[in-house]
């Protein structure tokens, strides 16, 4: 609640969302160690830096400093994008006991069949595109709202999928921090193995909700 109009508008609304499951509950697909670091360090850092950049933006606007305002856009986009993307990601995942890995049903299932031929073909495409992505980024299942069509699309770094004109339904983080600590234990062939296994914990129910909400 604002007090006498003096409070910074930036600091109140962006906090680390809680997960709907414990860190270890996505094992063996994603290790508890990775989940904890990913959530409490990486995502939190995006939020911290996002808020800082927004506070600096507010000050630059007060100062009428156009150069500073423009310069801050990079930090706002990177860190804000990181917050947006990871917030979606946590909801896209679920332990198998809560439905993770259970194939989609209803409208989304039909749309996947129409667009890609089968769920297996969609998964194969997302895995191939995710594996081929150079550097850091995400591989998405998105919705073109105008055409009412599903599409697979990659984005670089923390660029939001909206920048490609698509609504994000399902995002898979392929930054190295998303899987690297399992390189030694589980995933000898690191990125491809991570992609192959993450489907066991994909929360298709959440993906369906996003799809239907945007039709």
């Amino acid at each position: 609640m604002a007090v006498a109009g003096q409070q910074s508008r930036a600091s109140h609304s962006f906090t680390l969302p809680d997960l709907d499951y414990d860190y270890g509950e996505l094992e063996p697909a994603i290790s508890g160690e990775i989940m904890k670091l990913h959530h409490t360090k990486h995502h939190q850092t995006y939020i911290t830096n996002f808020v800082k950049a927004l506070e600096q933006l507010e000050q630059a606007e007060k100062d009428g400093n156009a150069e500073a305002i423009v310069k801050l856009q990079g930090a706002i986009n990177f860190n804000g994008g990181g917050h947006v993307n990871h917030s979606i990601f946590w909801k896209n995942l679920a332990p198998s006991k809560s439905g993770g890995g259970e194939p989609p049903e209803g409208k989304l299932a039909s749309a996947i069949k129409d667009e890609f031929g089968s769920l297996e073909k969609l998964i194969a495409k997302m895995n191939a595109d995710g594996a081929a992505l150079q550097g850091s980024g995400w591989v998405w299942l998105g919705l073109n709202k105008d055409l009412k069509q599903l599409a697979v699309q990659t984005t670089a770094n923390q660029d939001p999928l909206a920048s490609k004109g698509l609504v994000p339904l399902l995002g898979i983080d392929v930054w190295e921090h998303a899987y690297y600590l399992q390189a030694w234990t589980d995933y000898k062939n690191v990125k491809p193995d991570y992609l192959k296994n993450i489907w066991k914990v994909i929360n298709w129910s959440d993906v369906s909700s996003r799809y239907e909400a945007n039709l």
Binding site: L37, K41, H42, T45, G74, F78, Q134, G135, S136, G137, A156, N157, Q158, W175, E176, H177, Y180, L181, A183, W184, V190
Partner: protein
């Protein structure tokens, strides 16, 4: 009739896998050199096989395939193969801290002081968003600190790199997890091979 075919080989590390411990673990180097760099070279060889690129030097493949940022497929593997070799040679056990030799004078002349070099290099390395590299390079005879994204390196802009730090997450994740600033500080304090930097500087100056 048949051109000389240069099949690139994985160059050996200039030290044992455990030589940089405790600052860079044996495990990290086993992965970084043994899997990542090896993959770039294997994939590059597959990509250039039977093409006009296969008789070129690695540096020439890089500049030829860069395409002003609209890179051909082989660019990524070629540049990353080069960058990683340059990186591994940029380190040594009992390295780091302020240099002696010609590089020291240039740092003072062009970057103000060693402390200022550290400040600029740390900033470049920690603000490279996503994957990339932080460099100390010569540009028109002057030292500059710069950062590049993904596989890009100063060769494509006609600059001369002298020192590099890999800031792709795979370079530091096993040892530092998300703590990139700690990794950068450790590199500067313990690992920089200033002898190699001076040798690269001498080669570059001789060409001028």
């Amino acid at each position: 009739m048949s051109a000389v075919v240069a099949k690139f080989e994985l160059p050996p590390l200039p030290y044992e896998m455990n030589a940089l411990e405790p600052f860079m673990s044996k495990t990290t180097l086993e992965f970084h050199w043994g899997k990542h760099q090896r993959a770039y070279i294997d994939n590059l060889n597959k990509q250039i096989s039977g093409t006009e690129l296969e008789s070129l030097k690695l540096e020439d493949i890089i500049t030829k395939t860069y395409g002003g940022g609209n890179a051909q497929p082989a660019f990524n593997n070629a540049a990353q193969a080069w960058n990683h070799d340059f990186f591994f040679h940029s380190m040594t056990a009992k390295g780091g801290k302020a240099p002696s030799g010609d590089i020291s004078g240039l740092i003072n002349r062009d970057l103000g002081s060693y402390d200022n070099f550290v400040k600029e290099f740390k900033a470049a390395a920690t603000t490279q968003f996503g994957s990339g590299w932080a460099w100390l390079s010569l540009k028109d005879g002057k030292l500059i600190v710069q950062k590049t994204a993904n596989a890009v390196n100063p060769l494509v802009s006609g600059e001369t790199p002298l020192l590099v730090l890999d800031v792709w997450e795979h370079a530091y994740y096993l040892d530092f997890q998300n703590r990139r600033p700690d990794y950068v500080e450790t590199f500067l304090r313990e690992l920089v091979n200033w002898d190699t930097v001076n040798a690269r500087l001498e080669t570059a100056t001789a060409k001028l």
